[in-house]
Symmetry: C2
Subunit: 692 residues, 2 copies
């Protein structure tokens, strides 16, 4: 018995010390010494660093005022070819998809095409170095995992939106859960206008990577990815990320904090969920949006089309409860059957498609471009617009050939509209996908895979096959019945036209796309440049009414999160943010004022407030003398805005982040020390067992 | 009864008239009015024209002295990614494959990457507008077929080697069976040195398109694609193409006529077949090669490595009986099984691989480059070298992940050698594939497709899946057992470095690659330019011994075939070539003297010989006065070489081909007329039936 007990206590010691260590650290770091090494010499831990997977770091950018990024979700070369064969004929061409990147096709602008790699990190499709304990709280997983050959849309999106490789399921966090600044945050810091358009739920991975940071991609709303009738947020969100637990909130809530100038997509039902903590607690997310000054449209294409630019009132127009209906009715992939050859499928239009009511992807792209062009920031500083054709992927998953073809058509027409309506001498247009997918085009039906025989635009039969689902689910008719065909890891196409398009030529990695876009727009790309965006951080403490104080934080543009600590004159902590995990704390509103309510302050007392940028490590300290009780409401001090004290990041503030490489090494040594202690305890236990 | 008889005779009338019409035509033409139309407005018949499927005809070339074309057979983006993941890690890169096309990777040369389409014509995988009757003779198929979404290697190779889209199974003939001049014929006409290297049988489609014209890709040797122990040439070759039937001969025989400066590959067993007609009748093809002055090597890597350039003695080195052994031992794809995840496959080296004995693809590429660089033509005029990594495709067909990966490795190392050993300022290196293939990379085993779980260079599992075979053939162990996984129609990668590399950027078609290569080398590309290569055609008739005459033909460089007709002074035909089909007649030896034995000439008599270029339509006429009987042997006339008469293509010779567009229209009208007659007969038969 003795040795069992000793073993158990040793294991518990390791676990508790490891957890304590992780929770105590201001940023999350995990020992990565057991990461595997590729022949390139980079371990998982090395590849997990910002920018580490770039293939063309040495290739320069050309400046562009605007960037329009088109992401065909799951649109590998196979999906493009299938749609072209069916819609245009094998010799045909797409007016949008095939024009971008084509030398000579678009006036005299630079054009380029290439391939890029899309692998992710972590040991499996939903795995990561970040784990949750039974209570849904973030805990360290000492194994950072391996390389993952096939990415999902969230690791993929995180890669092109932040330049950092991460695990499948991550939204703009690295493999340790640390937020990575995304293109919208950086574009807003540079004064650019921003737009985000998708045919998917706007919380889906691709649009989400421009709106939020989340360790779990399913953390759609305050209650998770549900219709709001039940609360399973605890299953779908890191508990510490939820507002009610001191976190930065769900993807929908962060979307509002990010405050893109234009957001158009689906997923309105998640905005009907109820906010669970913070300033808007008890309201729906729609109500929060309206309170925050958004122009909102819920499931109304005509109202979307009628939207106009209004100063300070960004657009949030969601056209459908969930993902938007597809352009074509679904086809069903079935087992091999000669009868299919004699009666090839012809795709039919879907009456429910919102393009029939003015909300095709082209319509939404037109509205976004109109709004961005009407925006003074857009006019002056340019804009970054992302447009996703989302359901190419979703219908490919469903082995729905007609579905994926119709969505590719819709996507192509949005691109064709854009390239005719932007100035390609100052706008870089990129067309790519986030990962390859399952569908293949064949001359004859396969025996293994399911397939659909289509009658192409050329009048011939073409076979689209689907064979990658992990579980077979053939129905009574031999048809595909709700399983899930899988992404593939194939390198895929990237095409660009406009200034700097040369950067997509050759073999690049998905993370290079971050540098291509950020570099063209002149955004901060390196960690040092990004940290420097917080060098002018300021904190102004105002008394909003008797006994009520708020800290208004500006200029921490190099940070996604802040932490704060309020101490009294004796150095005792009065209140502070939760910073136990990377997503606990105060969400920075990019290029806006982030307000922190300072509770528990007494009239007339002295305090010291420190505000720390969680990514930049920049600290602003404010010495506060609270006005005496009975001072005039809201304006107790000298400042007409009620500001009673202020502070800023000192000029000589260190540039590096809170932990950095040194911190990681320290953590590694600490964990190694824990291991040594544990081994010693195990040896002792074994000796005790022998002696007993 | 009466109406049945009338119907039968009507059908017979159509058949006989159609056949007669076809046989009477100097080139083969089929009505294409029922070709389907793509939205691009091009029918099959239009797309079947030389150059009609180009996508970037307006994009110019830069001059290159040399071109090295690397074809990874079946090496789609998926096959590249799978090999990279396994061999180098997902973040790794290939020294050859990933360096070509990469800006900045290779000194300061131009680099480009893009995608191209590969569809073929005809109604199915082996279909064409060319048919064979029961006797194996060519007959017209009045339906030119439709577009074929997925190409085979021969239609693909014909496209990049000639610029003409054709049917699967065709080797450098169009959909009507008409030969199309290939890059080697055109390069030789321009004085370039030529080299052809493959790990496949040298008669396989990819090398074949630089050596031959054949309506059937399996027409490997005089006895077809056999080991020589049985003669099934009649099944595998158009009967009229065989030497014994007055045709231009098999692929092996035409390879010797083409006389590339360097040919290295497999397939030696077909050279052990016996020639069935013409000058070398009764000899093996190896013996013919030696008689024709080739340096030959049979299944001996050491001898291949010892070869040196010798003036007038081209190299023919075949390393193995069939396809060359693969670098890695085979893996077997099997049905889903969790045990595979726990014990991932690690590929093992194949002891039989000839790289162990000095005949890796790199070794063969090195030898080819050394020989071409030592060749005075190569030094002065440059060279065109094709190197094929053939068994990526063959192992993909066999669902053999290790096999295809090892072949990709071998291919990559050949490319890496080449780019370090050519002058990229004057050499255009192109790396591409001929079609995409079946293998896909997944994170988890699929339920439908067969798969192999590999342990990648990153130390993680990767799943390679295969699901496209038309017939399932799972063995007792659930393994793949000899079926045939299929090509896919996906657009695929083309990469280039060197002068003119920009031409691969964007979306191109496989036929654009012909123009990229031919344009860089300054070869004749348009039909008019190609026809003009025969404008200086000459014919010299020599008396080689008493009663024996030969016509030596030079300068018909715009032709693949010649026909001749010898008439006596009364205009009666004494002898002539068979020109009943496009491959019947005299094979032109490109940039060499083509000799035609003139039989049945009587001493002292007068004759008129006409020699016609079958592609160019150029005609040279020679008036012959045969020396009187008893003249001195071999030199009966004034010329010391025995030349007794000569003629040449007149200066004002028409440029257009024998039929051209007008001829096709005439044929169409003729066939339409036949149809009208047939319909009239059917109506009459029906009336008779009613009256009876």
């Amino acid at each position: 018995m003795g040795n069992h007990k000793a073993l158990t206590s040793a294991v518990a010691a390791i676990a508790s010390i490891a957890t304590l260590g992780a929770l105590a650290a201001p940023a999350f770091a995990v020992d990565a010494a057991n990461g595997t090494y590729s022949p390139n010499g980079k371990s998982v831990a090395e590849l997990a660093k910002h920018g580490a997977a770039q293939r063309i770091a040495a290739i320069g950018n050309k400046s562009a005022k605007n960037v329009v990024l088109f992401i065909g979700d799951g649109m590998g070369d196979s999906e493009i070819t299938i749609a072209r064969d069916y819609l245009k004929g094998a010799n045909g061409h797409f007016d949008g998809l095939d024009a971008v990147g084509q030398p000579g096709a678009l006036d005299d602008v630079q054009a380029g095409t290439g391939q890029y790699t899309t692998f992710s990190l972590g040991d499996g499709s939903k795995d990561s170095a970040v784990g949750k304990d039974a209570a849904g709280k973030l805990v360290a997983n000492p194994n950072p995992g391996k390389l993952t050959p096939v990415t999902d849309s969230s690791a993929s999106g995180s890669a092109w939106a932040t330049g950092t490789k991460t695990y499948n399921n991550a939204v703009d966090v690295d493999i340790y859960g640390n937020p990575q600044l995304n293109l919208f945050e950086l574009a807003k810091a540079a004064g650019k206008a921003t737009g985000n358009v998708s045919t998917a739920e706007i919380q889906d991975a691709t649009p989400a990577v421009l709106e939020s940071h989340s360790t779990e991609r399913a953390c759609y709303g305050p209650q998770g990815k549900t219709d709001g009738t039940s609360n399973n947020a605890s299953k779908q969100c890191l508990a510490n990320q939820l507002k009610e637990n001191g976190g930065i909130g769900s993807i929908s809530e962060q979307l509002l904090d990010t405050r893109a100038d234009v957001t158009i997509g689906g997923g309105s039902k998640y905005f009907r969920q109820t906010v669970q903590g913070g300033e808007y607690k008890g309201k729906t997310v729609w109500e929060q949006a309206k309170d925050m000054g958004f122009q909102t449209v819920e499931n109304d294409p005509a109202a979307m089309n009628a939207l106009q630019y209004k100063d300070g009132q960004p657009v949030l127009a969601l056209m459908s409860d969930g993902n938007m209906p597809t352009k074509f009715n679904p086809s069903k992939a079935t087992a091999k059957d000669p009868a299919k050859d004699a009666n090839p499928t012809v795709c039919t239009p879907n009456d429910a498609w919102l393009g029939n009511r003015g909300a095709s992807l082209k319509d939404m792209t037109k509205k976004a471009l109109d709004l961005l062009n009407a925006n003074p920031n857009g006019q002056k500083n340019g804009f970054l617009l992302q447009v996703e054709g989302a359901s190419i992927d979703k219908q490919d998953h469903a082995a729905n050939a007609c579905g994926q073809i119709g969505e590719t058509d819709d996507f192509d027409q949005a691109i064709a509209y854009a390239i005719k309506n932007v100035d390609l001498t100052n706008t870089l247009v990129i067309v790519t996908a986030d990962h390859a997918h399952t569908s293949q085009v064949l001359n004859a039906q396969p025996a293994y895979a399911l397939s659909t025989v289509l009658k192409s635009a050329d009048g011939n039969n073409m076979v689209v096959s689907y064979g990658t689902a992990q579980a077979a689910s053939t129905d009574a008719e031999g048809g595909y019945n709700g399983g899930d065909m899988e992404h593939t890891g194939t390198q895929l196409r990237i095409a660009a036209s406009g200034p700097g398009a040369q950067r997509v030529i050759g073999l690049t990695d998905q993370t290079d796309n971050f540098y291509t876009i950020a570099g063209a727009l002149g955004l901060a790309t390196s960690p040092d440049e990004q940290n420097a965006l917080s060098k002018d951080g300021t904190v102004k403490v105002a008394r909003t009414q008797a006994g009520k104080y708020v800290a208004n934080v500006d200029g921490f543009n190099g940070d996604a999160l802040l932490s704060y600590e309020l101490k009294d004159k004796n150095g005792a902590v009065v209140s502070k943010s939760d910073s136990s995990t990377p997503l606990s704390g105060v969400r920075v509103k990019p290029a806006q004022t982030t307000s922190i309510a300072l509770d528990k302050m007494s009239e007339g007392a002295e305090y010291t407030l420190t505000v720390t940028g969680r990514q930049s490590g920049k600290v602003a300290t404010v010495a506060i003398q609270a006005p005496a009780a009975g001072s005039a409401d809201k304006k107790p001090g000298a400042d007409k805005n009620g500001v009673i004290a202020s502070g800023k990041v000192p000029n000589d503030s260190a540039v590096s982040g809170p932990l950095g490489a040194t911190g990681t090494a320290v953590m590694a040594i600490a964990i190694a020390a824990v291991m040594l202690v544990a081994i010693a305890m195990l040896i002792k236990a074994a000796r005790n067992a022998r002696n007993n």
